[in-house]
C-alpha cells in the first residue's frame, strides 16, 4: 500500500541485481504489516467488524488477547496507580513477544508514525537536504527517564498529552482533532531539522522497546559480510546506521555478524538494498565471528 514510495536511490545496484520485488520485498512486507495492523484497529469503527479494540497504548484483540504498551504502563506505575489484571497481563505478553522478535520490531512493523518518518528520511536523502542538528542517540533514554520522572512528579501520565505515536494512532481510530499538527511537526522535524530525528534519537516509546528487545532472539545478521562490496547502500537507508558498522566490518576485530544492538528496528531495509545479499534474518546465537560462509577466521 505504501509501496508506491519512489525507489530508494540508494538501492540502485540491488534493483538491477534483484529486480524491483527483490529490492523492496521487506519494505513492502513491513508496510503491509503496518497497514494490516492499523486496518484491524479501524475495521471496528469503520465497518463494525471488531477484531481489535483500543489503540497502541492498550488493545484487546478478539475480546481475548490484551496488549499493553510498556511505556504507558511504566508511567502508570510511576504515578503510583495499580492497574487491573488485563493491563499487566497485556504488558507481559507484549514484552515476551518482543523478547522473541526484537523490541524495536514494534517501531518498524507496527508503529504508524514510522511510515511518516521513513518518508521524511527518504525525502531528505533524495532532496539532498544536508546538515542535521546533532543530538546523541542516547537522548531517547533521557527522554524516557523524563517521561517517568514527570509521571511520578505530576502524578499523571503527562507524556500522553503530547506523545506523537499514540496521538497519530489514536487519532486515526478515534478522531484526530489537532493531533495532525503534532504529527506534521515530527515529520518536518525529521525532514528539515534532524535526520532520523524522532525515531532515531528522541522517541521514548522506541527507547523502551530498545530496552525490551535487548536480548531478543531474532536479529538481522550480516551473515554474508565477506561478499560486501562497500557500496554503503545499507548505511544510507538504515534508520540506525551505527548498529551496522561492527557486525558488517568487524570480522577482523572478532565481532560476530549478528546485529546485536537493541536499536536495530528490524526494518530489514538493509536486506533489500544489498545487491550481494549480505544481510539476512537470523538468531542472535548464530553469531560466531567465523559464521559468515566466506569469512576467513583471523586466528
Amino acid at each position: 500500500m505504501m509501496a508506491s514510495m519512489p525507489a530508494d536511490s540508494a538501492g540502485g545496484e540491488a534493483l538491477l541485481a534483484k529486480g524491483w520485488w527483490g529490492a523492496h520485498r521487506w519494505l513492502v512486507l513491513r508496510r503491509f504489516s503496518q497497514g494490516t495492523i492499523l486496518a484491524m484497529f479501524l475495521a471496528g469503527p469503520w465497518f463494525g467488524v471488531w477484531i481489535v479494540k483500543g489503540n497502541l497504548n492498550y488493545s484487546l484483540t478478539l475480546d481475548l488477547l490484551p496488549l499493553t504498551d510498556p511505556l504507558v504502563l511504566l508511567q502508570l506505575l510511576a504515578t503510583g496507580h495499580m492497574p487491573e489484571r488485563n493491563a499487566l497481563l497485556g504488558v507481559c505478553i507484549a514484552l515476551l513477544l518482543y523478547l522473541l522478535i526484537g523490541g524495536r520490531t514494534f517501531c518498524a512493523w507496527v508503529c504508524p508514525l514510522n511510515v511518516l518518518t521513513d518518508i521524511a528520511g527518504g525525502l531528505r536523502r533524495r532532496l539532498g537536504i544536508k546538515g542535521s542538528a546533532h543530538i546523541s542517540r542516547r537522548a531517547r533514554y533521557w527522554m524516557l527517564a523524563m517521561t517517568l520522572v514527570l509521571a511520578a512528579a505530576t502524578g499523571s501520565i503527562a507524556w500522553e498529552l503530547v506523545n506523537p505515536v499514540s496521538m497519530l494512532h489514536r487519532g486515526l481510530i478515534f478522531g484526530m482533532g489537532a493531533g495532525w499538527m503534532v504529527v506534521l511537526a515530527v515529520f518536518l522535524f525529521d525532514l528539515l531539522v534532524m535526520s532520523r530525528g524522532w525515531c532515531g534519537h528522541l522517541c521514548p516509546v522506541g527507547a523502551v522497546y530498545s530496552l525490551a528487545g535487548r536480548w531478543s532472539l531474532l536479529r538481522v545478521a550480516a551473515a554474508g559480510r565477506a561478499a560486501c562490496n562497500n557500496c554503503m547502500d545499507c548505511f544510507a537507508v538504515c534508520p540506525e546506521p551505527q548498529v551496522i558498522r561492527l557486525p558488517l566490518k568487524g570480522a577482523k576485530l572478532g565481532a560476530g555478524p549478528a546485529i546485536l544492538s537493541p536499536n536495530c528496528t528490524h526494518c530489514a531495509r538493509c536486506i533489500d538494498v544489498c545487491s550481494k545479499d549480505v544481510f539476512a534474518f537470523g538468531m542472535r546465537f548464530n553469531n560466531s565471528a567465523a559464521a559468515g560462509p566466506a569469512t576467513v577466521a583471523p586466528e
Partner: protein, 315 residues
C-alpha cells in the same frame, strides 16, 4: 603517558558537557510538558467523566487513554479528547447536554477499563457519581416561573429520589403552587439526562463535576441536632448559659415561642406586671434564668429595649 592522561581528561570533560547538555535539553522539555500538564488537569465543567472515574487528578494518573470504554459504550456517548480540546488529550468524556449517560445496568464502560481508572468496585450504576445536577438558573427555569414543565424531573432515572418537586406558594399569582425541581446530591448520579432534556435554549439545570457543585462544611462543624441524635441526648448543657432576649417586631407574638431571656429581663426591668402574666411566665421553662450571672442582662437591656420589654410584659 601524559598525552593519554590529557586525552582522558578531555574525554571526561566532553562527557560531562554532553551529559549536562542532554539533561538540560530534556529537562526543559519536561518542565514545559509538566506545566502544560498542570493546565490540562483543569477539567472544564461541561466535560463529564464516565461512571466510576475517580477525582480528576487520580483519574489522570490511572487512565492510559486506550479508549476501550469508548468502544464498549453501547450508546456511543463517550469520546476521547483530541489535543485542541480543553480535556487531557486522549481521555474519555461525554457532554451531558448533547448525549447523556444512559446508565446501563451492567456498566460495560467500567468493565472494559484495563487499569481501574474507572473503578471496578462500582457495580450498581445508581451509585455512580459522574457529576451532580444543579438547577443553576432559578430565573429561567419554567417551574420556578410557576409553570409545570417538570421535564428534568420526569426524565430522571431516579425520579423522586435524585430530583424531587418541592411545592411552594406562588407569591406572584397568590393562589397557585410552584413545583421546584430539587436535586438531592446523595442520589444524583450525574448522568445528565436532566440537562440533556431541559427545554430551555440553554439548560437551567446542568451537571457539574461534584467538586464544583458541592459546598463542604468545615471539618470542625457539628450539627447540633445530629450530634444529639447520635448521643441520644442534648449535648448542650443547661447550666450557666446566658440567654439573650430575642428581638421581635413590635406587637408580634409567636405561639409557643420560648424566650427565657426576655422573660428574665422583664422580671428585672418591669418588676410589677399583672399577676396573670407573671403566673404564665413562671409556667414556662426558664433554663437560663436562675444561673445567669447577675450583671449581664442589665447591661444588655440598658437602653431602648426597656420599653419593649415592658410592653411585652404588659401583654
Amino acid at each position: 603517558m601524559e598525552t593519554k592522561a590529557k586525552a582522558n581528561s578531555a574525554e571526561r570533560r566532553q562527557f560531562i558537557f554532553d551529559t549536562a547538555k542532554m539533561a538540560c535539553g530534556v529537562g526543559m522539555l519536561g518542565l514545559g510538558l509538566g506545566l502544560y500538564g498542570k493546565q490540562a488537569r483543569a477539567l472544564p465543567p461541561q466535560a463529564i467523566r464516565p461512571p466510576g472515574a475517580a477525582a480528576e487528578a487520580d483519574f489522570l494518573a490511572a487512565c492510559i487513554r486506550c479508549g476501550l470504554c469508548v468502544r464498549d459504550c453501547p450508546y456511543d456517548i463517550l469520546s476521547l479528547a483530541t489535543p485542541e480540546q480543553p480535556v487531557a488529550t486522549g481521555t474519555p468524556y461525554f457532554t451531558a447536554r448533547s448525549k447523556p449517560c444512559e446508565m446501563c445496568e451492567n456498566i460495560p464502560c467500567v468493565k472494559a477499563c484495563p487499569t481501574d481508572a474507572l473503578d471496578h468496585g462500582l457495580t450498581d450504576i445508581n451509585k455512580a457519581k459522574m457529576g451532580l445536577a444543579v438547577v443553576v438558573d432559578h430565573e429561567t427555569c419554567l417551574n420556578f416561573l410557576g409553570l409545570r414543565c417538570d421535564v428534568c424531573y420526569r426524565v430522571c432515572p431516579l425520579i423522586d429520589k435524585a430530583i424531587t418537586l418541592e411545592v411552594q406558594h406562588n407569591e406572584r399569582t397568590g393562589r397557585h403552587a410552584m413545583f421546584l425541581p430539587t436535586v438531592h446530591s446523595d442520589q444524583c448520579t450525574g448522568c445528565g439526562k436532566c440537562e440533556a432534556s431541559c427545554v430551555l435554549q440553554t439548560a437551567a439545570i446542568k451537571v457539574y463535576p461534584v467538586k464544583l457543585a458541592k459546598g463542604e462544611l468545615g471539618g470542625h462543624y457539628r450539627l447540633g441536632w445530629e450530634e444529639q441524635r447520635k448521643a441520644g441526648r442534648s449535648l448542650v448543657e443547661d447550666r450557666d448559659i446566658i440567654d439573650l432576649p430575642d428581638r421581635m417586631p413590635e406587637g408580634m407574638k409567636l405561639e409557643g415561642h420560648s424566650d427565657p431571656g426576655s422573660q428574665a429581663n422583664a422580671k428585672r426591668v418591669a418588676p410589677t406586671p399583672s399577676a396573670g402574666v407573671d403566673s404564665l411566665q413562671s409556667a414556662l421553662p426558664h433554663p437560663g434564668r436562675n444561673a445567669a450571672p447577675a450583671g449581664i442582662p442589665q447591661n444588655i437591656s440598658g437602653r431602648s429595649p426597656g420599653k419593649r420589654m415592658s410592653d411585652e410584659a404588659a401583654r
